[in-house]
Amino acid sequence: MSFEGKILLVDDEAHVRKFISLVVRQLGSPQIIEASNGAEAVEIYKQESPELVLLDVNMPVQDGLETLKQIVQHDPNAVVVMLTSLANRQTVQEAVQNGAVNYLRKDTPKDEILQALRRTIADCFPSNT
């Protein structure tokens, strides 16, 4: 399975974007677009309509949940995976209720992140497998 689509990667921390983008590249040859805050992410989403969004929960100015709501409002079929540092159950539930398809803990080893992303892609894009 190889994923060639557009991925929007949103995190306020550059080192996280670097790490996650290296993980994501192993999915195939996706086009990765990075955003460092929620407002920017919503703008990019509207212009680029990425297939997959990886969205940090804790961000200054506009947090991940608010960003998620705006993206889903614009596109109810958006595929959004939340990135968290603490898998806070309440936050995760709230994200899922607002349309996120999954969540990933940023401190998990890269192979586990990769595995989880492959599963999500297989679930959300059956034609891709």
Binding site: E13, H15, V16, K18, F19, L22, V23, R25, Q26, S85, L86, A87, R89, K106, D107, P109, K110
Partner: protein
Amino acid sequence: MQLLQNTRIPFPSFEPRETPPQFPSRGPGTSAEPNLLGRKLLVVDDDRLNIRILAGLLQTEGYVIAEANSGEQALEVYEGFRPDLVLLDVVMPGIDGFETCRELRNRYGVNAAPVIFITAKNDSEDVVEGLASGGVDYLPKPFRRKEALARIRTHLQNRILIEQQKLLVEQLKQANDAKNKLVGMAAHDLRNPLASIRGLAEFLTDGTVGPMSPDQLDLVKMIHSESQSMLNLVNELLDVSTIAAGELKINRESCDLAELLEKSVYLSNINAARKSTRISLQTPQAPVTAMIDASKIRQVVDNLLSNAIKYSPPASEVRVRLQKSDTGLEIAVQDQGPGIPEGERHRLFKDFGTLSVKPTGGEKATGLGLAICHKIVEAHQGSIAATNLPNGGCEFSIQLPA
């Protein structure tokens, strides 16, 4: 008499005041002896002459006095005056001294001022009733001045010490909360960068971003393994501070324990393989389900497995067993390590309770892992125990209610 109020000048006709006992200094900012000057006493007696005698004596000692002629009036005066001690006559018209004392206890609870009964009644029955109603002491009338003053001083000093103690406990609690919060914040802020350092180092070691020389590879592997241990430590500190703040929440859901153990054993086998150690798993045929917080119990099992590998010599066998027990379910992990030294057993499940037993492959021990396991299992109303095995090694077993 009025002129002498609030002074320490002894009234000429009284004996000079005894030197109060010296308390050891408790460091800067606190007086060596609780200062009784200006402390407030409420004197309650239906006989005005008695009040006048008592009040006169006490005022010369530097106490501030309020008076009441009945139990009812005492309760009224108490509310506004807030005395540090009450001298209470027992036999009075209206509500008597015992009743008044009980009412004070009712209204003000443990914060009520100590009550010393003063009465002509002094048979043991009355003493018992007086103490049962919440009084701290009893002075028979006619009292000896020296004795009365000494007892009043003692109870006032006790009261002051109790107040100081409460304040100190409150301050310590606040300081401890602040410490937990700080540890939590620090751990949280360190976590993301550490996770990235570890992740990026992993990408360097596996050649994703190009080849490295053996020497470079060696260095990067060290960065990877050190950042991994730091991340573990930070995660454990975060757990400890969360637990200390009383925020350990157990979200129970139905869980297949055999499946949980299989996953944990599968991943732990990767670490075990580095020391040529093997983990075997024995589960019952029938599925074993329990209402647990799966991620928390998984954390406990992962920790026990990691310890078993850590403390067993290379090429050992670690056995994991799941079975039904009398009280519910049991998960047991057996290692081939040196066991728990009897003299160190009490430290095993305490925070930072590292033992003299050392990891066999240079692994790190923070002394937090088992403390966290203990708290998670307890939060499930279960128990965790360690038993040294007769043929060497140690078994950690978790009992969970069914």
